[in-house]
């Protein structure tokens, strides 16, 4: 915007006025919300006063506002000089504090700005972002990036990542395959890995509906629930095993997808989102209230564990059967079953991925994408929008059903509590954050959103906060998602090169 690179006359009082106003707003907000904290004390609730934190928040708001103004006015140098050391020193202090605290119970607490390590880390991150922006501005003699430039850069990055993914993908899969046998693999890591891969699979499944067909589905977890309950109930009432139930669970979920799809076909965008959200809740409430059939809030327990082609993973197999370790002459470890579950979900997830990659290049996949782009044009070309949407819905639901039956067999116990709206939101967030339609983006987003919070369990209460912040940032910065880059399903140049090579 600023055509003149020369430094404009600068109004210092004005800057302090603006920063002061920001600090006052923060103070007013923080005074009540941060300053008084209710805590359970013997005999009721007590109030802890945290005015030091309030003061610190105001100071940081003041300083941060000044940094913002300086960046805006094209003076990034002082910002870089202050924020970079600040971020580095505070980060180092926090690391040292953690190390000390784990050793002798107390660290540098008095010097740190806030008592909560999470808030401290957030300040480090914000300072680092400021430093990065300032460094960028120093290099390019400009402090702002236009939206188009950012889009173009991000699309290049997305394309680059997809290119790399073509070679890195097999490597990643190889890593995933050997993971259980690496020395770092313990029970906790494998459990987290199973969880992450489950969400990757669900993300890939939802990607068909949201990413390819462009149907915003906020009730995806309903199909997950249908799959889980299909398996649990079939096992309970008919004593069927996991491998028999797996296709059934998928079919039932796909059927549920068609059932939901029919009445809502005419709806687009936001309306569809609301209806699917309602459907998700309906399924959960039915499961909760149909006590005779589903045992309602008590859930279903004793769901049979999967077997390795008929060989159960038990230490002492029942009379007349052979267990997995017995058959292969191994010593029994409880990890066997975890590793098996891990491979099971990995195989399911990879099947989902291969299926998606293939169907994208088939007419139905292209029709999904065309439908996302322009439904009216599709109709003018003789594409049946109803059937096309239904296939997307039911195929997406089918994968959720597979995932659900895996979930049931892994947990051994399911109840409606596992299928709340927040699960749908998390899966959708994975798809949106990763970049709609981007398979590798889903993987990264699932690791980011599921893996990280699991590793940093301590941050649990801030998890949703960080989640929301990340979503807002994505919406502002890059509504299409981080790694959104669409690779054409076929190219003329590739086929033409072949034709030219002939003579």
């Amino acid at each position: 915007m600023a055509a003149t690179p020369a430094i404009k006359p600068f109004d210092f009082p004005d800057m302090f006025k603006e920063a002061g106003a920001a600090a006052i707003v923060v103070f007013a907000l923080a005074f009540a919300m941060v300053g008084f904290r209710t805590e359970p004390v013997p005999g009721g609730l007590g109030i802890t006063l945290r005015f030091a934190d309030v003061a610190m928040a105001s100071v940081i708001a003041f300083a941060g506002r000044i940094a913002l103004i300086l960046l805006r006015e094209g003076r990034p140098f002082p910002v870089l000089l202050t924020t970079l050391p600040f971020a580095v020193i505070l980060g180092a202090l926090l690391l040292a504090d953690q190390a000390l605290a784990s050793e002798n119970g107390s660290g540098f607490e008095p010097v740190l700005p806030f008592s909560s390590p999470v808030v401290n880390w957030m300040i480090v991150i914000v300072a680092a972002v400021f430093a990065g922006r300032a460094a960028w501005a120093v290099r390019h003699a400009r402090s702002t990036v236009t939206a188009e430039e950012r889009e173009a850069t991000m699309d290049r990055i997305g394309a680059r990542v997809q290119q790399v993914a073509r070679y890195a993908g097999p490597l990643l899969i190889g890593f995933a395959l050997v993971l259980p046998f690496l020395p770092i693999a313990d029970r906790r890591l494998l459990d987290i890995a199973i969880l992450v891969v489950t969400y990757i699979m669900l993300g890939w499944g939802l990607n068909i509906v949201v990413g390819l067909a462009g149907l915003l589905d906020l009730g995806y977890v309903a199909f997950y629930a249908v799959g889980a309950y299909s398996y649990a109930l079939l096992a309970q009432y008919f004593d069927m095993g996991f491998w028999v139930c797996l296709p059934f669970a998928g079919i039932m979920a796909a059927f549920a997808g068609i059932l939901l799809g029919f009445p809502v076909l005419g709806l687009r965008g936001d309306y569809l989102a609301i209806v699917t959200l309602g459907f998700g809740e309906m399924v959960r409430i039915i499961l909760l209230n149909w006590y005779k059939f589903t045992k309602g809030p008590d859930g279903i327990s004793g769901i049979p564990r999967p077997s390795f082609f008929g060989l159960p993973f038990t230490r002492y197999p029942a009379e007349g059967t052979v267990s997995f370790h017995g058959f292969f002459g191994l010593t029994y470890t409880p990890l066997d079953r975890i590793i098996f579950l891990y491979y099971l979900i990995l195989a399911l997830a990879l099947a989902t991925n291969v299926f998606t990659l293939r169907i994208r290049k088939l007419p139905v996949g292209r029709a999904w994408e065309a439908l996302r782009e322009d439904e009216t044009a599709c109709r003018a070309l003789g594409i049946n929008p109803r059937n096309t949407k239904l296939t997307a819905f039911s195929i997406g639901a089918m994968f959720a059903g597979f995932g659900g039956s895996f979930f049931a067999t892994r947990q051994g116990f399911i109840s409606p509590e596992s299928f709340t709206f927040i699960e749908s939101a998390v899966i959708l967030a994975i798809v949106v954050l990763g970049g709609m339609g981007s398979q590798i983006g889903v993987v990264l987003a699932a690791i980011l959103l599921i893996g990280m919070p699991e590793f940093f369990r301590e941050l649990h209460q801030f998890r949703m906060l960080a989640f929301g912040a990340a979503m807002v940032l994505i919406m502002v910065w890059r509504p299409a998602g981080l790694l959104a880059h669409r690779e054409p399903t076929l190219r003329l140049s590739a086929t033409k090169r072949l034709a030219k090579a002939v003579p």
């Binding site: 994408e369 322009d374 003018a380 003329l492």
Partner: protein, 280 residues
């Protein structure tokens, strides 16, 4: 009006519209309009803004359901009663293709993909409704190659071969117009309906458009139905013109007949001022 007989003589009828009436609430957008469009001829519907031209189009292509009237397409496979068919079936079974006044491409898909999507139904059958395609059947691979060949033919004809792998939304405006026509032609229609194809084109581009439409008529031997404001297009290439005003048909005949029809001059062309008609 008597010229209708001439039209019927000049080619076999492809589309018969009888007593078409369409109301939106109290507004009568089309009032008892009847006309015929012949096979292998270019028929244009003209009229001032709000005359109901696009509404006729939307009734023909199934986007609106007419209140009264009969729309018959005389397809080689038999007659289709369009007013009873769903929109996508009109395109699929009766083989009527259309373009839109405000271009409707699939902007984030490539130019080539746009042309392949147009051949959806052929490819769908060849892929045995996805199953064969998933298993990599040879039949589907051949069908896809054929589809690419058809797409390449139209890309060459439109001069878009070098841009085949571009996102359609990144094409210049004139190219987008031509791509939309190519996409419609990839459905192998018997009747191509074009809703203001010359809108926004410069003189050179609209001359090229004339050439293209004549090419489609003469080489692909299908009927064309045109809604157009640009008189250089309408008068230059039409074999037959239908004039609407306030939803009523006021004239119907060859370009020469219509040009000299007093009803048209009075209602449409204004006070003998040639060239004024192109506004809006």
């Amino acid at each position: 009006m008597s010229a209708e007989a001439d039209i019927a003589a000049s080619g076999k009828p492809l589309l018969t519209v009888e007593h078409l009436t369409m109301r939106f609430g109290g507004l009568v957008a089309i009032d008892d309009v009847s006309f015929q469009a012949a096979d292998e001829r270019i028929t244009s519907i003209i009229g001032p803004n709000g005359a109901g031209k696009t509404t006729v189009f939307n009734c023909l292509t199934g986007f609106y359901k007419p209140d009264v009237g009969r729309l018959v397409l005389h397809h080689p496979n038999g007659d289709f009663l369009l007013e009873r068919m769903e929109g996508f079936l009109i395109a699929r079974n009766a083989s009527i293709a259309r373009t839109f006044q405000n271009i409707r491409l699939f902007p984030r898909m490539t130019v080539l993909e746009n042309l392949i999507v147009a051949q959806h139904n052929v490819l769908m059958r060849a892929s045995a409704f996805t199953l064969g395609g998933l298993l990599g059947s040879a039949r589907y691979r051949d069908a896809e190659e054929e589809a690419v060949d058809l797409a390449r033919y139209w890309l060459d004809r439109m001069g878009l071969t070098d841009q085949a792998d571009w996102e359609a939304g990144n094409l210049p405006y004139g190219d987008q117009r031509r791509l939309e026509i190519a996409r419609a032609m990839c459905t192998k229609p018997v009747l191509l309906c074009l809703d203001e194809p010359a809108a926004g084109l410069n003189l050179r581009e609209s001359a090229e458009l004339n050439e293209l439409l004549v090419f489609i008529r003469d080489e692909h031997r299908i009927g064309l139905l045109l809604v157009e404001h640009d008189m250089s297009v309408v008068m230059g290439i039409s074999d037959h013109i239908v004039v609407l005003d306030y939803g009523r048909k006021i004239s119907d005949g060859t370009p020469d007949f219509v040009r000299n029809d007093p009803a048209v001059i009075r209602a449409y062309l204004g006070e003998e001022e040639d060239g004024e008609e192109g506004y809006g």
